[in-house]
Symmetry: D2
Subunit: 289 residues, 4 copies
């Protein structure tokens, strides 16, 4: 574990950079100040980069668009690997027909639509179509009535023996400097506990997220894990997952892990990043290097 002053010296050691999104590139206040310099540098140096994010609320195209609106045009949809994409791959491979019931917004459901499958909000499942429900997916914490639809989801799962996908493993997410929101991953764990069944989870720290990004690269060129570094703000998702997959890891202190807590939390959890860096901002010298 080394403390690094300038994120540039990390980038210079690797060919491919995986970034977590929230707490690394953006916060609830917008982009991390200066982060656009990092992506300019990556482009100039012809490094590859991917955003590896626990987010199933929107499609990669919509996620990319949200960066563009903030002024970060370097992040295009083909750079984004989300837990929602793994959910879509699962449905493509494993659910051949019938209805996929979901909890989330229409946006979150739209991009997992697949030929042959019909997505339907849990609220619209009823006695006439329940027998065709072949999967249930937890996509987003918004877009439905919690009381009605969480109770309904429990009762669907008591009647149907079907795969349940949790498309975002987070239990809470930051809403403002003071407040958090309960995430769909936390809700899913409550329901898993009540129905006593085992759900399938996609998202960091699970290796399948990293594998998906790794495979995207290997489609067009050979790569070794030693050429990749994972940058994140959360020890038990970004750093634990990156470490386990065999990547070097960087913990930045612009999100979940605060500068004053970092040593305590590394010791307490035993999750050790390869590097610690205040932020993921490349600082160039006066002459631009």
């Amino acid at each position: 574990m080394k403390r690094i002053e300038n994120f540039k010296s990390i980038i210079d050691r690797y060919k491919i950079i995986f970034f977590d999104a929230f707490g690394v590139i953006k916060t609830y206040q917008g982009l991390v100040p200066g982060i656009e310099k990092t992506f300019s540098y990556l482009e100039a140096e012809k490094k590859e980069y991917y955003i590896v994010t626990n987010d199933a609320s929107r499609s990669p195209a919509q996620l990319a668009e949200s960066y563009h609106r903030m002024g970060l045009t370097a992040i295009t949809s083909n750079r984004i690997v989300s837990s929602g994409m793994l959910t879509k791959e699962y449905l493509d491979l494993k659910v051949k027909d019938g209805i996929v019931a979901y909890l989330g917004t229409p946006d979150s459901a739209h991009y997992i639509d697949t030929s042959g499958l019909h997505t339907l909000p849990v609220s619209e499942v009823n006695s006439s179509n329940i027998d065709k429900v072949n999967a249930l997916i937890f996509l987003d914490d918004e877009g439905f009535n919690w009381f009605d639809d969480l109770n309904k989801a429990v009762n669907i799962l008591r009647k149907r023996t079907i795969p349940v996908i949790v498309a975002n493993t987070d239990h809470a997410y930051p809403l403002s400097v003071h407040d958090v929101s309960i995430a769909i991953g936390g809700i899913a764990s409550m329901i898993e506990n009540i129905v006593g069944k085992e759900f399938i989870r996609f998202g960091k720290p699970d290796s399948q997220m990293f594998m998906f990004a790794y495979d995207l690269i290997r489609e067009y060129r050979a790569v070794s894990k030693q050429e990749i570094v994972m940058v994140g703000d959360t020890l038990h998702t970004d750093i634990l997952g990156g470490n386990k997959f065999g990547l070097d890891t960087v913990l930045v202190l612009t999100g979940n892990t605060l500068p004053g807590d970092v040593d305590t939390r590394i010791t307490a959890t035993g999750i050790v990043p390869t590097y610690i860096c205040d932020n993921a901002v490349v600082q160039l010298g006066e002459l631009g290097f």
Copy 2:
């Protein structure tokens, strides 16, 4: 473990009977058929009895009234020991002043009102009164907006270091022959997990429920645990809790534990009742005995 045909032969061995409510005396369809004979027999034989129930949704008086409406007048409010009563005792002893924020119906909050304390729905906590909130209580799954108020409860607990009481440990409860409902105990576990704090739970199988009933009796006469039997339909609350407290226990098959499952579940859980009986109905012979 003995199988007993007639519940009467169990009653005849003990002086005091503790009954669970749901699944033993009543179901979602009303009273268990014939259960009034049990209470007539108990009265005739001058046995004592108590209803020991994980229920914080209403006061003992309101719970008793609901039995009266179904035609069972033998259950008076002084016969009822509920997890809500333990919550009230906790507040009396441990929270001296300020606001007690709650999740539940106004009914559930009313009877825990105590001199010096002010109960307030979580929805009405705001920046002007949050500093006076000295406890938060999970009372009932109804009476509030889940999305708004569960998120608000999480954020109150991030700002205030206060005791949190879960007045009902159940994670789900039966609604009809086909459906269940998520109970406040399940919701509380989700929030406990998200905020990472340790909540205080009242309800079976915890010994404090049994202690409360035991103490009610000891206020007017000496009693030994060997004179009491606990009757319930659920292995991991009624039977486990009764066993641990040192009571003999009867599992009845009119609720949570089905006749076809009983052996498998006893073996799987290792929770062994003293007796198994189809139901808690006293069957008298032709001449009334």
Copy 3:
């Protein structure tokens, strides 16, 4: 939550004091310096006191003797309430005959011997006597071969559907200033997880420990919970358990909770003692008061 300088001012407010043992009265280095002054003061003021301890390794008489050897004669066996005593009460009430198999030292088994029951080390259970084994008890981490006897315990529990008692809920205990030891409670949790059955645990924070002490007092006089204070060094056993039972609580900083950590840990766990005091030593003024 108030910080108190002198433990004397706490004692002066209550009639009865419950003390945890390890980290409050003694450490691995012997008695807490000056603690004998506390017990002299209690005797002089005719206060009642009890040691409420998660310890099933020895009988109350042997535990008392160990204090006497350290020079603290005020702690007699009738002042001690241990999780081992609750185990013995459970056996007296609930296991009528047969063999009680145990993991622990002969000393730990001796005092739970009860008329009609036969205690036997797990190592001596075999195909000729296994059918008579009617309970299995986790008493102490010493006195048996871990590899042989833990595996044997697992297989006994796969063959016999019997109550399993964990007589000490702690998962680890301090051995020296640098080292800890795995406690029998930690081992029991591993085996509970493997066999998938539900064990019965005696020990703080469970209310039954506090009830047992409370009942000892009530045998000879009336008492209210408001007259009692629980003194401990561990938030999630002593303080959580005391709070839940309705007692006022004092956290002392001579054991598990270090002075530098106390605020962080109270905020992190949400477990709030009534008072915090550096230690449980009564400091008298120059003239003895």
Copy 4:
């Protein structure tokens, strides 16, 4: 979910077969009767196959040899993917120098030896070398003194903030028709709980096991997940893991899941295999096809 009579009809649908070892190919009594016919058929049909096993006790070469001794020569070391191999890959990528302390037999440690690293049994860690310990690995439940070395492992982890690898996620394994043995995965969970740190686990149902096998194939040819089927006897490792990775799955009833339990367990867990087949034995017609 379809019930299939003859395992041959499953093989005919896929190009690549992943087999679990224990409960599918062999049991504690030796090879599953007739299993050699399956491998003859696979060879004749030029299908590919891999053994994907939670086993870190021996090297692939030693595991292969054990099949040869039982008469199954078709399983060569290059056909075996074990959780021990993932452990070795982790060390190669992530631990650059120093000592790797381990719990297990010398055999289990030998094959993870890597240039630059020094494996050392936990029993030989002492105050002079503890500062060089850069990882701790749980390899096997045999080869060490449980009391001494498990306590020592706890104390090493309290002093060193290092990655901890659990090379086998199973909590127990079958020893005979009547008995099981506590596995190193169960022991590791106990210690993880005591030290409060997060360990890295390799083994089914984790996706990384399936990726490793998938990558072995892709080294020499393109492959789609739809060409592969996973065959296993355990719902929550083989079937859950295979499903999540996107593979079709076959549950066989020669191991963990008994014919009489299969429907109950699928409903209870919600883990649904693509096919159920009594065993993994290819039955050929009279004329050999």
